[in-house]
């Protein structure tokens, strides 16, 4: 039986150009981060050394995270000594909550919730077939949908994805990182993938 797989990819990377002062960058803004970063082990940090023209990965031991602030230690403490113009890039480490493909035939539904700005897609769990298993969800944040236009567009977009390829294949519903996919033009401002 031919099956489509619906692909979702969240956004989770941000670059900063260092100027001077403390070796810190602030992450988790909605424009760049769908997954909330609460532990430094969720991210990698690299530094483009402007003077040397090289990329340098910063070891986990050279990082610390306090709320939304990432601090890069000095080079003598496993970090990197930043100079003006260096580019710091923070990127989420891929997990089940950053990207996934879901079977079309395990799609359960799409609905709004109590918020006027949220749409939720549900799939049967990919981790369990137990009756009590929760569903996997993709939660979209959208503009206030007073005229119910966006919810309808999202529903139609999901329908298009479910039936996109009669021979079966991967269908990108929304890749926030690259801003492509069937739902790319619906002004979705956040997408949270939650595999139960």
């Amino acid at each position: 039986m031919k099956t489509n797989f619906l692909h979702f990819k969240s956004v989770g990377t941000q670059s900063f150009t260092y100027v001077s002062g403390g070796q810190t960058v602030v992450i988790n803004s909605a424009d760049f981060w769908d997954v909330a970063i609460t532990n430094k082990n969720q991210i990698t940090v690299s530094v483009f050394d402007l003077s040397a023209g090289t990329d340098n990965a910063v070891a986990q031991a050279g990082l610390s995270l306090s709320t939304n602030t990432v601090t890069i230690a000095a080079s003598g403490s496993n970090g990197f000594d930043l100079a003006a113009g260096d580019i710091v890039t923070v990127t989420v480490i891929p997990t089940e909550d950053t990207e996934a493909i879901f079977r079309a035939d395990r799609f359960l539904g799409v609905e709004a919730n109590a918020s006027a700005t949220t749409a939720i897609l549900s799939f049967k769990s990919m981790k369990s077939v137990a009756a009590a298993a929760g569903d996997d969800t993709i939660t979209f944040t959208i503009a206030d949908d007073g005229n119910v236009a966006l919810m309808k567009d999202i529903s139609l977009g999901v329908l298009e994805a479910l039936n996109a390829d009669k021979n079966g294949g991967t269908v990108t519903v929304f890749d926030r990182l690259n801003d492509v996919g069937i739902l790319a033009n619906l002004a979705i401002t956040k997408m949270v993938i939650a595999v139960a």
Binding site: T3, P94, T95, A100, M126, A130, A131, G168, G169
Partner: protein, 111 residues
Amino acid sequence: MEKYLYFSNPNSGAPDQTQETAMYATSSLLGVCPGSATTTLLHFTPRDGGTNPADIVTLTHTSGGHKVVFDGVASLVNAEKNNMPFQVVADVENSIFNISGVTACSIASTD
């Protein structure tokens, strides 16, 4: 006709332990997601008839190559290339990897 995905990862020579080879019906594939920068997890309905947790086949691949693996899995599930019921995904013993960038696999089941 149902199609099946085949995986092998024997430690050496003939399989002599559980989880060294596995074949799952494509209808048992529940979903696919990254495990790390270099791994992708394929979740299957447990082979032993249980319900939880899912069996997991981990494919190791080039860093960031998840979308390539997603596309490859979807292609094999749908037998896009040859319409054969027996689809080899990763056969480590014979160095057969039918998804670009995949170099290893491991199988984890609850039985």
